[in-house]
Symmetry: D2
Subunit: 131 residues, 4 copies
């Protein structure tokens, strides 16, 4: 059961702000890429999940910023699935830079939603089977 | 016939980059807001236009950057409709800062597209009548 | 003592994602604009604060998403200063749409930092005096 | 002399808009990544270039959009240096998707600027020597 996954992300110029560091709101993108690539590593395409009518909006986002990420840094984002998903799915994250310094810690909760009725649904079985 | 419109936009922190100025790609957002507010001034909601099945993607974007825009600048974006729209609609733009310095000049061409068939269509009559 | 402030923000097309709603990471920008305009209402320019050597990075961000914000929505962001700022400053936020539906609730903690030494400092006196 | 370079970019969810495709302004980021990686392939770090006091702002951006890029597309961005750089440097670009469909063609002109005086300067010799 693959409950964790690591990805690398190169900081883009457009992601920095005039403080010279990554704009704090842009970390949400890094966490999302970590989720999508974790699914891909399990053989699941998030795109196909949405195309099949399952939406997975973020219902809660928490980020603690420890140290600035800078332009051209090669970040590592580690994702950890906290428990077996039900109507929601929860992840913890840690982000490091290339010098093994912790940049941020984060948590997100997402909800499985039926794209047609916009009602909550349970995590699809084919995902549970891969976990 | 209102072929021009001016709007004001306050530069956001998130729109700057580590050079301390507005990231050049973010100007596309300013031009878009100018178009949407020009339509609103004509009594047309771009949102309702899309909801009615008309899409208006950008097919060409040209920006010449003259001077940097900075955090918290209060920019003026002036839009000018170049000619009566047909299957396409074309605008010129000028952007100033609060010191009347020209920041950028731009041009965009957008295409009217049927949202169901993705085929080109002509500009809806109710828009032409307002011009 | 003005501990609260309300601003209006029109949702931009660029802020939406393929789910048709505001991308969850973009709320960080809305919260920031609320902070900057709260300061401006107190007679304080965040730009001048930074120019004077005081940086105010976000050290913690928490957002609970209640309902989707949509393109062209006219959002209201209400900010509430939680207590007298020391080396940190903490805010709660509520975001509504034009139909008085609550879109999100959020909290941020920011740290006062000396831009030269990158050491924590206390909230400047001229800010405390305005509170 | 390496006058061309190709990179791959996976489209992020945050880069799409409610039309379900990549927001047109976000292509500027893809072009920039192509430039930075072209320099890196030549053994030049754009970050170090900036740290050494050379700034390289975009002075002109032109993009022609041919076909929509979609979420999770694996794009190829090909960059072509048009001529030996002087005080400016000019590139053409082509973007494809994974089905070999042309998504966009673009051109950018950037200016070499002295970061201390903000005056135009010529392309540094160590870059010319690598071309």
């Amino acid at each position: 059961m693959e409950k964790t996954n690591k990805i690398n992300i190169r900081v883009r110029y457009s992601e920095t702000d005039k403080m010279g560091v990554v704009y704090h709101g842009n970390y949400a993108q890094y966490l999302e890429i970590a989720r999508v690539e974790w699914l891909r590593a399990l053989g699941i395409s998030y795109k196909e999940l949405e195309d099949s009518g399952v939406m997975l909006p973020v219902v809660s986002l928490q980020i603690n910023y420890k140290k600035s990420a800078r332009y051209d840094d090669l970040l590592t984002v580690e994702l950890h699935l906290l428990k077996t998903p039900g109507v929601k799915i929860e992840f913890d994250y840690r982000i490091w830079n290339q010098d093994q310094e912790i940049i941020a810690e984060a948590n997100t909760v997402l909800a499985f939603i039926d794209g047609a009725t916009f009602k909550p649904i349970r995590c699809p079985k084919y995902i549970l089977e891969k976990l």
